[in-house]
Symmetry: C2
Subunit: 322 residues, 2 copies
DNA sequence: ATCATTTACTTGACTTAGTCAAGTATCTCC
DNA sequence: GGAGATACTTGACTAAGTCAAGTAAATGAT
């Protein structure tokens, strides 16, 4: 929870490295324990891993197996030969490449794999059973985070999605904005309080016909948000736009602002206005690109800093539609 | 972020089990990859693990090693014999038990272990280097969560600690209270908004001489909090007491209330008052035990529910000191 | 079209890491 | 003082995996 200003230095420090090493030792042992429980079967651990892959993916070749499980090619060859002898798999030479064949479990293969699979399933179930549901969720979430961060960094299928406000969001957004602006610009706790105040008022006086919020979610995590509130019949105000560092470059900020403009236009507001500070350069670029014009600037002392506040307006009547 | 009401059913569902199994497969491979990189050394993987243990812990016996690393006793015996032959370890029979001996790395042993250790360190460093610092932190945090949840559930050395408010806390507390009361009692988003409003006001008008907050932290995570605000010269008000489910039973609620009482007494308030709802039984027990008296009850409709609000007072002059 | 190179897989020969069971010395608990 | 447990050792063994050499097919450069 320590707030440290952005250092710009991403070098992994010793504590982090040691923590990862400690986890590796821990999990080596953990996997060892789980594997012990499965050793009574007729198959070795590696054989079971191969069967698992075959049961869950189609059209694998010997090379695929070796690569994905980290096995020696010769060893894979022998394993497959053994499986073939036991009629657990069938191979069909690929038409595209006569050297390779596509390997599939036979009916007998599936039957042999089933108890193995069940044992492993039961074992993990027993492991989870020791924890209450909320902790099970935390465990799974943490594992997925580890996997995503260490994995091939494949971009998620859906880069992000927008959804309306849910319970827990306004606290979360307050928390993140409070920390973010403290880290990036050294703002003090009064900014977080301001966010809390604005969001509390938004919920309390929420008028669904004239006001709206968008939460950007990525892989189940909130990575940005924006709010539109009614100032008058004619004027809507865009508030509290933010995007997490980790989700920048995906066009989320632009998209959020576009949603606001579209909503304001649909509700036939004449003007969309917003207040921001000149140091927030990334946001300013988005506003400018969307057609907002700077109306006035004024220095002020807030959040423990000397800042320059800016009011920007978008004329919804004259501005061209996207 | 889905809010589901407490089901009371902790049975691990299929998705969770599958997610854990997926993680195990992933990490088996991950460890395999890391191990490959270390195989050029003169020591086998298991030998390296044994050396690591010996380098980091004192007074180990052969049995300790076998148990902690999951190795066969005979195999450990042979490994140690080999290390002894190479003068990497020395054994000294325990005075308490002539069958066992305490094993320690010799100077030569440390020297042999150093490059292994460095390689492993460098490898993890390279792994982390691919991630920005913020993601490195998330990785480490997630790993620690996994380790804690799957580990021996050893109670942390320090069960919890109290600290003052920091940036990010009020948002976090709003988030957690919003979700907690939605899950447990079905309260709607207006409760979260109320929390946000109260906390925003607390920060904005904070008077350090007369007001205070306590955040309970456990293993780096916020697990509870309470606030005392000034109502008048004579009267202080305790607000927003909560403790996470995962941290209940540690006496944190009681301790937080005691801190409030101690503070109110030290500031020579005459009365400590609080408002709560009758369904919050756990909190009520704490207040009663601390000497609070129920002053009045009143039904009200808030947070989407019919509730019974209660005002409780503690007379700080007449009540006995703890 | 041809030939060198690479890739996919196979096979024989081998080693290593680990298991199992039987045995000795010592300790613990009645 | 003796039955049983524990800490380690040792001999006999084998499953698991490696390495290198080889074949057949595909690929890429001329």
């Amino acid at each position: 929870m320590t707030v440290h200003h952005q250092s710009g230095n991403d070098a992994p420090n010793k504590e982090r490295i040691d923590a990862v090493r400690a986890f590796n030792r821990f999990y080596t042992r953990q996997i060892g324990l789980l594997d012990e429980g499965l050793l009574k079967s007729a198959f070795s651990l590696t054989e079971a891993r191969v069967l698992y892959e075959l049961a869950h993916r189609d059209g694998l070749t010997a090379t695929d197996l070796g690569r994905d499980l980290g096995l020696d090619a010769g060893y894979v060859s022998r394993l497959l030969k053994k499986f073939e002898r036991l009629h657990l798999i069938s191979r069909s030479t690929l038409v595209s490449d006569a050297r390779q064949s596509s390997i599939a479990l036979t009916q007998a293969g599936r039957k042999a794999f089933a108890p193995l699979n069940q044992d492993s399933h039961d074992q993990i179930r027993a492991l989870l059973d020791r924890l209450p549901a909320s902790e099970q969720d935390r465990l799974v979430k943490s594992m997925q985070t580890v996997q995503r961060l260490l994995g091939e960094n494949a971009e998620p299928r859906i880069p992000y999605l927008l959804r309306p406000l849910q319970i827990g969001d306004i606290g979360w957004i307050t928390h993140r904005q409070g920390l973010l602006y403290a880290q990036d610009y050294g703002w003090d706790e009064t900014y977080e309080a301001l966010v809390a105040e604005i969001l509390a008022a938004f919920v309390k006086s929420y008028d669904p016909k004239w006001e709206r919020s968008w939460i950007a979610e990525r892989e189940g995590e909130v990575v940005g948000s924006v709010f539109v509130v009614r100032k008058s019949d004619q004027v809507a105000k865009l508030r509290l736009l933010y995007v997490e560092h980790s989700a920048r470059g995906l066009g989320i900020g632009k998209r959020l602002v576009e949603e606001c403009i579209g909503f304001a236009r649909a509700r036939e507001y004449k003007t969309l206005t917003l207040w921001t500070n000149d140091i927030l350069a990334a946001a300013r670029h988005i506003y400018q690109a969307a057609g907002f014009k700077l109306i006035e600037e004024e220095p002020h002392h807030s959040f423990g800093k000397d800042l320059v506040g800016q009011n920007w307006n978008l004329d919804l009547l004259s501005s061209a539609r996207a």
